[in-house]
């Protein structure tokens, strides 16, 4: 079976090539068939292979396929080689399965768009790059996939490029993730310098022998890789691009900016777990960043009015949970949360896309309202997604994964009560804004008349994702322990059941608060709006803790100032100066090229005289 491994990324690549070369000529249904079909085939192969993997586990716990050598420079042997182990398998299945659903959804969602083929081409390329990222057996190929998804993210955020805001959002996403990517590649260089290889298995095997725990070099490597992950996964302080990235079409937000690409950082850190375990400082930092991010993004999500921005901030916050889990050493828990989050967040985005589409591109939740009766199916799926996000106990997938993370935040070896408190607060906030979202959008007065309801191509993926949002919590991923180490617990830790009760209590409290404020006593909020202090806090949260403004002052303005000082580009002046000198010389000499034959003859004569004079004076 493992010889067919290459087919998984090859299918989307073929789809991309077909669409990008001939897409404009194909009729729409052919484009849709190629675009969605390639991912579906890929998903079928991936799931078949996954079943095979679980039923007949390979000897070393990994499928491996060496395709060809990419390049050899000195000691660096970069291969196009794929591997599939338990962790990759989770990612591959999620990417292809959710990818296929989102592609099917897009067939209907993008129906009336001019650039149908371009959309599917970019999406296919994205899936291909993402699959390469998670299946690469060396870090060079991983980096290729890493940059590939960044490129596709850029292309798809700016998909509707006629609007300047969309282009700016695309640029912002690209530039900010680039900061992380630069750090990451420096990390890779360091890793190569120290270990002499970029093959993932070799690195994982070599690193513990080569480095001692807490070694400075390994800390630097881990920090740089963490920075790469932070950029891609929109963690503090590189989180500002994700809310703006919502400028892209909703399926893009669902696939790239919720389910898959933004979790690439989680994958990277989990993949390189040995390196991170050797650097306790970086582990603590990861946990702290995760905790801070989930709180900061959660607070922003509470006050947003744009439905997609709410979801974007909640994505940042949920990835914060994953980072928190990674930081305390709860590797499996992080992957498990990624697994459940992918389903319910994709569901939420797709449902939000359907709502937006039906309401004639209305993004503001306060102009929606009362949609419960108008679109029952979307309402039901949306409420399932929101419940999973809020981690409603026992019936949703989000509960199981988040509960595990909260427990480990306290009781894992790297855990700390403060991390747990932050996580708990985040859980409360999550529950609160999920409730707010549901109540404002689907209850209350109808503000906008809905248009045509979405077709079944959009509804079916929603239903499937909703089923998984409930059911995925019961899927256990025990085989992950083949790849990832068991979480080490503190020697003395309280019972898990207590934490579960506290978590349930905090979630229910959040839902209750939301219910009270937005359903039972809405005038309370109106009262708060009078208060100046609360409004300024609200505006602060609304602007994403003013990070954009902070970066504007810290980086953009000084940079613009420097460029203005150097408006005439000193370096450039030197080169243009050389050019000017030569131009002047040319003008000087071209005087002699006056077309007068006698002048030329005289020139020849003077030359002869000069040479003969030299001969005489010799």
């Amino acid at each position: 079976m493992q010889q067919y491994l290459y087919l998984i990324p090859a299918m989307p690549l073929i789809g991309f090539l077909l669409l990008i070369t001939g897409g404009a000529q194909f009729p729409r249904y052919v484009t849709a068939m190629i675009g969605a079909g390639s991912i579906c085939v890929s998903a079928i192969i991936a799931i078949t292979m996954g079943a095979q993997f679980l039923l007949y586990p390979p000897l070393e716990g990994v499928y491996h396929q060496q395709l060809w050598h990419w390049f050899n420079i000195g000691k660096l042997h970069a291969d196009i080689g794929l591997q599939l182990d338990a962790m990759s398998l989770v990612f591959v299945c999620i990417i292809t399965f959710i990818g296929a659903l989102i592609h099917i959804y897009s067939i209907a969602f993008m129906e009336h768009d001019r650039d149908y083929a371009r959309f599917f081409a970019s999406m296919n390329l994205f899936v291909c790059s993402m699959l390469l990222l998670v299946m690469a057996n060396n870090l060079v190929l991983l980096y290729l996939g890493w940059e590939g998804v960044g490129l596709c993210s850029f292309l798809l955020i700016g998909f509707w490029y006629e609007s300047e805001a969309n282009c700016m959002a695309a640029r912002k996403a690209f530039v900010i993730t680039r900061i992380g990517d630069t750090a990451m590649i420096i990390g890779l260089f360091l890793l190569f310098r120290e270990l002499g290889t970029l093959n993932i298995r070799e690195i994982l095997a070599l690193a513990p022998q080569y480095f001692t725990t807490g070694n400075t070099t390994v800390t630097w490597i881990a920090l740089l890789l963490l920075a790469g992950g932070m950029g891609k996964s929109a963690q503090l302080p590189l989180q500002t691009w994700l809310p703006d990235a919502m400028a892209g079409p909703s399926p893009v937000s669902a696939l790239i900016h919720a389910a898959t690409m933004v979790t690439a950082g989680v994958y990277l850190i989990a993949r390189m777990h040995t390196i991170f375990e050797l650097s306790p400082f970086t582990m603590h930092l990861t946990a702290i960043i995760g905790a801070l991010t989930l709180l900061v993004a959660g607070c922003s999500a509470m006050v947003q009015t744009d439905i997609k921005r709410i979801l974007a901030y909640s994505t940042i916050s949920q990835i914060g949970y994953m980072f928190l889990a990674l930081g305390v050493g709860a590797w499996s828990a992080a992957i498990f949360h990624f697994f459940t989050h992918a389903f319910f967040k994709a569901l939420l985005f797709l449902a939000a896309g359907a709502v937006i589409e039906t309401l004639h591109h209305e993004h503001n939740i306060f102009k929606m309202g009362g949609l419960r009766k108008d679109m029952p199916l979307i309402f039901r799926t949306f409420i399932i997604g929101a419940a999973a996000l809020a981690a409603v106990p026992f019936v949703t997938a989000g509960f199981f994964s988040k509960d595990e993370i909260l427990w480990f935040a306290w009781s894992a070896a790297g855990g700390h009560p403060l991390l747990w408190v932050t996580g708990l607060l985040g859980a409360f906030i999550t529950a609160f804004y999920s409730t707010r979202l549901i109540l404002v959008v689907f209850w209350g007065e109808r503000q906008t008349t809905p248009g045509k309801l979405p077709s079944s191509a959009m509804n079916i993926p929603l239903v499937i994702l909703a089923i998984f949002s409930i059911g995925a919590g019961w899927i256990h991923l025990p085989h992950l322990t083949q790849v990832l180490p068991e979480t080490v617990l503190k020697p003395a830790h309280p019972e898990e059941i207590i934490f579960q009760f506290i978590a349930i209590f905090s979630t229910l409290l959040g839902i209750m608060t939301g219910y009270m404020l937005y359903y039972l006593y809405p005038h309370t909020i109106r009262g708060w709006k009078e208060s100046e202090g609360l409004m300024s806090v609200r505006n602060f949260f609304y602007a994403g803790w003013k990070f954009d403004q902070l970066y504007d002052v810290l980086f953009v303005r000084p940079f613009v100032f420097i460029t203005q000082v150097n408006r005439n580009d000193v370096t450039d002046k030197i080169y243009s100066g050389i050019a000017t000198i030569h131009l002047q010389l040319n003008r000087f000499l071209s005087v002699s090229q006056n077309g007068s034959l006698r002048w030329y003859v005289a020139g020849v004569l003077i030359g002869i005289l000069f040479i003969i004079t030299l001969q005489i004076l010799r």
């Binding site: 071209s590 090229q593 006056n594 077309g595 007068s596 034959l597 006698r598 003859v601 005289a602 004569l605």
Partner: protein, 102 residues
């Protein structure tokens, strides 16, 4: 029979050459310039003949033959061009023919 110094011949050739050169530099009429060029070529031929006589070898005369052939070819092409120039520009003034100016 008093011998002729080879250098005397060469000086005669040099004088002829310089006269031809002066003609090229002075004249503005293309026909006169061509005539002057013929003088210069002839002077070069004379120098070759002198060298051939000095060494008692036939090579000098052979070079003169080649110069002669070259001069014939050059004159035929040049005069054809003169005809063409006169036809198109209605002038033979070389100072008016400046199309190759930079």
């Amino acid at each position: 029979m008093a011998p002729i110094s080879a250098h005397t011949v060469l000086i005669v050739a040099a004088i002829l050459f310089v006269l031809g050169l002066a003609g090229v530099l002075t004249r503005k009429n293309i026909i006169f310039m061509l005539i002057s060029i013929e003088i210069m070529l002839n002077a070069a031929g004379l120098a070759f003949i002198a060298a051939g006589s000095r060494w008692q070898q036939p090579d000098g005369q052979i070079m003169y033959l080649f110069i002669l052939a070259m001069a014939a070819a050059e004159v035929s092409v040049a005069l054809a061009m003169v005809l063409q120039i006169h036809h198109q520009h209605k002038t033979l003034d070389v100072e008016d023919l400046r199309e190759l100016k930079d």
